[in-house]
Symmetry: C2
Subunit: 150 residues, 2 copies
């Protein structure tokens, strides 16, 4: 391999996102972080990932500003990995992935975990809407370039 192509400078925001979290493990780590995992060992056990790879991924996620390394809440000298505000902004991505999986990747009779509103205990849902509130699908959208204001 001659260095995997970097999308850092790509003009498309999705591409840049994928540049940061588009590899095999990162989003799984983020999912676990949303599930409340914080410690190296917890991620390692949950994912079954090789430790050296986990080390590297965590470093990258911290460097990208998605996770931060903070002293444990229990006060020890140990550290824990926590989602930053930026990391929490990945919530819609996780919900969208979850929704897709629920719809297409489970047998009708098959059991799966469910994301619910803490208050009502009812499933949350995700919508894409136009400014006037209309629901929007892929065929009702276009991609434009932001006109350069010069």
């Amino acid at each position: 391999m001659v260095a995997r192509k970097s999308l850092k400078g790509d003009y498309c925001p999705s591409a840049r996102s994928l540049d940061v979290i588009g590899d095999w493990w990162s989003l799984l780590i983020v999912r676990d972080a949303f599930d409340g995992l914080t410690r190296f060992g917890e991620f390692q056990k949950s994912l079954g990932i090789a430790k050296n790879i986990l080390t590297e991924r965590l470093k990258t996620l911290v460097a990208s500003g998605i996770l931060e390394l903070v002293p444990t809440s229990e006060g020890g000298a140990r550290m824990e990995y926590r989602l930053t505000a930026m990391g929490k902004d990945l919530f819609p991505v996780m919900v969208a992935l979850r929704q897709f999986g629920e719809r297409h990747l489970f047998e009708p009779a098959e059991d799966h975990s469910l994301l619910v509103d803490r208050a009502s205990r009812q499933p949350v849902h995700l919508d894409i809407r136009a400014q006037d509130g209309r629901l929007i699908g892929p065929d009702e959208t276009v991609i434009v370039r932001i006109p350069d204001e010069k």
Copy 2:
């Protein structure tokens, strides 16, 4: 590597989604498909991906039901890759990734492409809501297991 772990049987829907589209190239291909690309050569040129890898990814995406191989609209014997209905259901994932990128991966002054409603030419937006319409963030949600109805 000893065979990358498969998440096919995972209990978490996000994990299953990542199992299908979580590798480095697949979502970029899907993004291009949403942008209207259909031909092998178009993807190859757009992404700069090695041809054998593209071949393999396209095969996987077709096998997963995200793309389908149909005769060209121009009637020739050539084929083109099109998003299936299932593939189009990845739209929220793409929008979420885009939104994240827009918010966090561009300099304030930096130019980027924008997804707009075809009718109004205004940006679309993505919300996660509870059943009663309240906007919901990651801290207002919990993951539960669907109670087995037996």
